[in-house]
Subunit: 185 residues, 4 copies
């Protein structure tokens, strides 16, 4: 009913992904690393993407604790720093960037990515509830838009522009978005 060797297989999957990237991640490699026969992997996961998808569920590296600093500005800074860390500091960056990059090519991973972002947002939402209670934003503000603007910019800079993401970037980005989202009147 359930693969006895699941743990070893999924662990090896993430290790190899972090070490060699998505293209270097092979079923045979996972089999070798985890000391399991190749056919065993195929019995449970139909493809590399499915295997990786399963491995990512519950990957500690992608764990995420939403900040709660007492102010929206602080929380948003925390968010940006968290995303920046996720995308630039090993080993989470190896896993996250490779997996998200692969999601572009593969429907199964795309679905996983969608779930990942949905789940994340559910955990980020309280930040905005608290902010609304504190009067830092008004009801019409769009929390998902705000996090997408910030996280998107971080992705773009970290992955595509390959620019360093320093304190200054965080401050400016959060300030701009915050300013744009502050309550009218």
């Amino acid at each position: 009913m359930a693969p006895r060797k699941q743990r070893q297989i999924l662990d090896a999957t993430l290790e190899l992904l972090a070490e060699k990237g998505y293209e270097g991640l092979t079923i045979e490699g996972v089999a070798g690393r985890s000391g399991v026969n190749k056919t065993t992997i195929y019995r449970w996961w139909p493809s590399k993407a499915a295997l990786l998808g399963a491995a990512l569920v519950g990957a500690e590296a992608l764990e995420f604790d939403p900040p709660d600093t007492g102010s929206l500005a602080g929380d948003l800074r925390g968010l940006v720093e968290g995303v920046a860390r996720l995308l630039t500091v090993s080993p989470s960056s190896d896993i996250a960037v490779a997996a998200l990059g692969a999601a572009v090519h593969d429907p199964a991973l795309a679905e996983a990515a969608k779930g990942f972002f949905a789940d994340r947002f559910a955990r980020e939402a309280p930040i905005f509830e608290r902010a609304r209670e504190r009067g830092e934003i008004d009801a019409s503000a769009d929390p998902m838009l705000i996090v997408d603007l910030l996280a998107g910019a971080v992705w773009l800079r970290a992955v595509f522009r390959r620019l360093p993401l320093d304190q200054d970037f965080t401050d400016r980005a959060v300030a701009l978005v915050l300013h744009g989202a502050r309550p009218t009147g």
Copy 2:
């Protein structure tokens, strides 16, 4: 001095990328499609990534005309719509998304992506110069931050969240950023 069959090869490369994605793009496939021998391709480009990098240079699908509507709001809406179109409408989306996704895995393509974004930004900069002359933003505004926030959010939604990018999204995103970047006082 120069590959005689360059045009055919690079054209076939982009076609196959659009049709089958990055993983489905093979040198042998390009050779077959372009009516050229495999060795001829290897003579000029050392890898799939290098070949794709070369093909992307001057790819019409990635052409980009910065908007000039007379107002910063209009220009930014134009930008967002342009990026959204690039990432969601075939065939440019097939090419752009696959290529950017692959840039995550490959240094050569990462470099190409960096160049692509740098070049794009150079063409977007005049938008902000005009806005400054019109007094829509002040000197301290950071144009690259603005475009990264907007383009990043578009990428996130189009590629990772797989959400539709409608008129409403454009308006809200531009409004927020514009509001946050408007001149103080």
Copy 3:
């Protein structure tokens, strides 16, 4: 534990060797002819030479029945004729000549050739034992020298000089060697 397609592969190898010679013998050709995949061949034999070596073991064309005519002269004539046939009559000549020619270039085949000649000599030795018992040669005669002189001359004429090997040659060669090896006193 053992290649399931061994028979088909080795058969095809000998066929192609006979048809196209050693240089025309290719792994891909053998794969095609035997209806087997190239990788399957490489799984079991590391090189063309090793494959051919394996194919030659037990090749019917190289089978050899030592003559037993009742006299040394007759047996030696039988030997010479046998070698001449081996080296001049299809298909054994195609196989034997090509394989021996290739042994010159390849250590693995050289080893196979060595074994072939050693094995042959073991089967020829009884001829000389019988001759000794009959008093046709004395104890000091060197059987291997005798067969090497005869077989060597056949090789030289058949392969290098491309001279016909007729009855007359056989008679003269055997007579000379026999005369030289006859018991003293």
Copy 4:
């Protein structure tokens, strides 16, 4: 009317043959070694075999001085030793063995080999004329048979059996052949 770079090309051909054997001898390699363009070689020799054939003509390593010791026995010993040296001592062995081995596979080289042996025999014939004058053999003796027996045995042992060719072998072989060829009565 004649290739200007002939010397360099043919020299390089023999060098490479000696170094890497026949299979390792490539037109591109010869071009590289001799500092000549590949097309220049193809302009003058249609194939590797033709090139090698040309290179072998006048190869010093194959030079041959027929012995003249004053007795047939001595001359034959000289012959055997000469052939043994040719086939076992570098660099002549590298060239001769490789070339003769390749002659098995290629008509052009086979022709060259034929010429080589014919030429050699023409130079060996005087040995037997002198022997006849001295009364060491009678008119019916067949010189070519004698040299083929001896040279053939040397080839067999040196190349196929990989046996050492010592003084003893020479003595025994010559004695046997000589004894068999001595004048009757």
